[in-house]
């Protein structure tokens, strides 16, 4: 019964955040614009052969996605604090882990939407056949997104209460997600340059472990992170 109540609360928290974003578009346009600028610069300014571009494409696209995605993570809790809504949200009879999972889900959707825009643009501008194997690429994207947004949501919750936080989130988040950036870049490079082999699975498994560990750990420690 309590699991059912938690699932319902989770759904309404996600619904609320997505409704707010779709109605006013506070975050997504800025995030997509930054991503497009980065992709445009990275895809057009590198004077490399197609073979060399294919080798570095994974690193470039994931760097652009995660850099732009930092904006979504930053606003996810700052938006609640700015409006004074966090205090009210924290008093609802909802487990803190449910609040965390809702933010993870909303940030996941934001990052997925960003990827749906940036990946085709990158392919058009660079001629790299990034989507030649869409299934495995989607798997890398899903695992990377979970890893990134779980850390991002946790750090966002930590920094949202800090006055004059400025670029604190980016400073804390980007070093923490180095394994995700590295794993997704390597998995994408292997995907583009050869067959799906044990090496590719190794990197994909690393991404999966990182995603699971951070989502679970995040759900457990969130209560202490947000405590006044």
């Amino acid at each position: 019964m309590q699991a059912y109540e938690s699932t319902k609360s989770l759904w309404w928290l996600i619904h609320k955040d997505l409704t707010r974003e779709f109605r006013v578009q506070h975050v997504w346009p800025g995030m997509v614009l930054l991503g497009l600028v980065l992709v445009f610069l990275l895809a057009t300014q590198l004077e490399l052969s197609l073979e060399e571009k294919t080798r570095v494409a994974g690193g470039l696209i994931w760097l652009a996605i995660f850099f732009a995605g930092t904006i979504a993570c930053e606003r996810s809790f700052a938006g609640e604090r700015d409006a004074g809504c966090w205090q009210v949200l924290a008093l609802y009879p909802v487990a803190p882990s449910v609040l965390f999972l809702a933010k993870v889900a909303v940030n996941f959707v934001a990052l997925a939407a960003l990827e749906f825009v940036l990946v085709p643009v990158f392919i058009v501008l660079s001629d790299v056949p990034l989507a030649s194997r869409p299934g495995p690429l989607m798997l890398i994207a899903v695992l990377s997104n979970f890893g990134f947004v779980s850390v991002g949501s946790l750090v966002s919750a930590l920094t949202a209460g800090v006055r004059r936080r400025g670029s604190l989130l980016a400073l804390l988040l980007l070093p923490l997600v180095v394994p995700v950036v590295f794993g997704s870049a390597e998995a994408t490079r292997l995907l583009l340059t050869g067959p799906i082999d044990s090496q590719w699975w190794l990197w994909t498994e690393l991404l999966a472990v990182f995603a699971i560990v951070f989502v679970v750990v995040g759900a457990f420690v969130f209560e202490f992170v947000v405590e006044e």
Partner: protein
């Protein structure tokens, strides 16, 4: 795999939320009892050894100059701030994290805590759903009618006047019919009509047996609405005024 993951997360949600322990549902007696509350921000003591009990059906006002610790005291009374020393019990329970306790408390903070992008109806529906209110649509419609907010029901809260936002925020605190209402300056931004509405609501809450604690700078309003006024200064209770005969029952309590 996904099902397993989902189940694991929900189990962890339940494990973290220490709410599933059996609860002695003590609904009579005091709604809230605070004993020896001391709150320190950094090195600055904000509340010092404050005791306060509020019984069901009782209304208590908290008054004091700016920085006296009124909002901190109210935040302690809803479990939003953990005191450095002392304790609070709600309906006999020692933890505000308990879902039973949270469902009994309605809180209005200094800020409205409303989402500007959502309409008044959506804000109230969201709060109602978080509290698991049954027939939430009917409940919200009745509340909006009660607050004379029907014409504004489908306008984003960000487009409403400050007074209307305050009404929506007060209604949000009531959406789950709490037994303890904690309101930080509820009449802020309300016009004369709004204040009358608040006074009518206040009388109804009391007759329904709800415990009320509110902070205000308006001495006349406090005397009109409250049974007791707790005077705070520099984090200490300096006096408790009984409003049935305030001139004779002013008690110093240094």
């Amino acid at each position: 795999m996904m099902q397993m993951f989902h189940n694991t997360m929900l189990t962890s949600a339940l494990a973290i939320d220490r709410t599933s322990t059996p609860i002695s549902h003590v609904l009579g007696g005091n709604a809230v009892e605070a004993t020896g509350l001391t709150v320190v921000y950094g090195r600055l003591p904000v509340l010092r050894d404050v005791d306060l009990e509020i019984a069901a059906g009782e209304s208590v006002a908290v008054m004091g100059p700016n920085g006296a610790g009124k909002s901190t005291l109210l935040n302690c009374l809803v479990g939003a701030v953990r005191p450095a020393a002392g304790r609070v019990r709600w309906f006999g329970e020692a933890s505000a994290r308990c879902n039973f306790v949270r469902r009994q408390i309605g809180f209005l903070g200094q800020e409205t805590g409303l989402y500007d992008e959502l309409t008044a109806t959506e804000n109230l529906l969201f709060a109602g759903r978080m509290y698991g209110v049954s027939d939430v649509h009917d409940r919200v419609a009745n509340l909006l009618a009660d607050g004379n907010l029907r014409p504004q029901a489908h306008r984003p809260v960000g487009q409403l006047s400050q007074g209307m936002r305050q009404r929506v925020a007060i209604l949000r605190a009531l959406v789950h019919e709490p037994r303890l209402l904690v309101l930080d300056e509820p009449s802020a931004n309300l016009d004369a009509q709004g204040r009358e509405w608040l006074e009518r609501l206040h009388a109804r809450w009391r007759s329904a047996g709800r415990a009320i604690c509110f902070a205000s700078h308006d001495a006349a309003q406090c005397r009109a609405l409250a049974d007791r006024i707790v005077h705070l200064d520099a984090g200490r209770v300096v006096a408790i005024e009984r409003c049935d005969c305030p001139a004779t029952q002013l008690q110093g309590c240094a």
